[in-house]
Amino acid sequence: MNLWQFILENHAEVTQLTLEHIWLVGVSTLLAVAIGMPLGILLTRCPALRRPVLGSANVIQTIPSLALFGFLLPAPWIGARADRLAILALMLYALLPLIRNTYAGIQSVDPSVLEAGRGMGLTNRQLLFQVELPLALGVIIAGIRVATVLSVGLATIAAAVGAGGLGEYIFRGLAMVNNTVILAGALPAAALALLADAGFGWLEKRLRPQDARRTSYASPS
């Protein structure tokens, strides 16, 4: 049976697993943004925290994914449901690119711009929301992009703990020694990764402030 036939015959299941996959990646990435961005901002304010926080996030990245899923299994509440566990694990992996890029993006803002802003009487809050974050946004989106693409791949492992997603097909195919079934999981996952990459790449370009509204001055009013 070829791949196309398999997908057509099982289209309901393929759709179901793809949606599960998107759900796992989407929720975990959102959580990583919600935690990683404030942490990254904090690092720019308290340099002493930089080494411990970035170090921990780095260490998490080095834990093999299968092992991380295993470690989290006995955790209360989290371990009780496979999707919670998978989301937590994926979130932990996504943290590093988010913390690091938020920090790097803000650090890369021209110091003279900050000095001028502070000198003209902007509060720290105004400086953060009107100047630092908008200027760092391109770099932060790049971090989200890396995290998302990474998560799409990692989320296939989530099937090992029964969290669903396209990994189901990969593990099933491996057990059945059936390449078609493996591909039915792997190809849509690869497509999702490419799609996420292209989507965030586009967003990154659009939101990079230097390029925003490049054409707005071209037409004389």
């Binding site: 802003g117 003209m120 009487g121 105004q126 009107q130 230097q210 509204r213």
Partner: protein
């Protein structure tokens, strides 16, 4: 205490984090409406002196009074909004249009939209720019235009005091000369209290009503420009010699 002083330094010292002294026991009174030039070489403490005024730096000891009030009595944000600040690198916000750059402080101060717009237009005229550029972004402007916008932004909320840190230092000589002349005309019209940092004696003599010569964190002399040209102070003589072709009248060869 001199009641007409806009800014006063009383025994002000400043030490960097590592403990090295950058300013020693500075005493200085800047009169309302004058343009005081802080002249000195790199590392003499002139920029530090400037940043102490708008509290970007905090003195290690001594007291600084702005408009008669000690810095400790000021809300730092309020203080900075009544002090315009212009730096050599300009520091325009690259993601804002010229209009938003100039109108940022008025906007934060909750001016109505149309008043901000009128003010931006008025300021662009004032600094000699075509109001058409209001919708452009800083990267689309030349260095001279950017610095004009920097001056307009500093003037936006009509602050009584203006701090200028080598504002024309990064410009080509022709643009610099033009902006210096325009600055003089502007200052004659607006009558702000200006503290102007430069290492260029020509510029100091051109824009300053008085010159404070700094060296290694100490005030060497504080004189009017006429007195500066007559001063027997060795450092003042050294400065005059370094710039002498412009003052002695003798030009060998050229």
């Amino acid at each position: 205490m001199d009641s007409s002083a806009a800014i006063e330094f009383q025994h002000v010292s400043y030490h960097a984090d590592q403990g090295e002294a950058i300013l020693h026991d500075l005493n200085l009174a800047i009169q309302r409406g004058e343009t005081l030039v802080l002249l000195g070489r790199s590392g003499s403490g002139k920029t530090t002196t400037l940043k102490l005024i708008n509290h970007l730096l905090t003195p290690t000891s001594g007291e600084i009074r702005v408009a008669g009030r000690a810095l400790a009595e000021w809300d730092v944000i309020r203080l900075r909004r009544m002090i315009g600040y212009v730096i050599q690198e300009v520091g325009l916000f690259p993601h804002f249009t010229i209009e938003k750059n100039i109108g940022l402080v008025p906007k934060i101060e909750n001016w109505p939209q149309d008043r901000i717009r009128r003010r931006v237009e008025e300021l662009l005229h004032l600094v000699g720019l075509d109001p058409q550029i209001a919708t452009r972004f800083p990267r689309e402007l030349s260095g001279g235009q950017r610095q004009r916008v920097g001056v307009a932004r500093a003037l936006a909320a009509d602050p009584p005091i203006l701090l200028m840190d080598e504002p024309f230092g990064a410009l080509d000589p022709l643009t610099r000369a033009q902006l210096q002349r325009e600055f003089l005309a502007l200052e004659a019209r607006l009558g702000k209290t200006v503290v102007f940092v430069t290492h260029d004696l020509n510029e100091a003599l051109l824009v300053g009503t008085r010159i404070a010569l700094l060296e290694a964190g100490r005030l060497v002399i504080l004189t009017t420009r006429e007195e500066f040209l007559r001063s027997r102070e060795p450092l003042a003589i050294a400065y005059r010699n370094a710039f002498s072709p412009d003052f002695s009248g003798k030009r060998d060869g050229v």
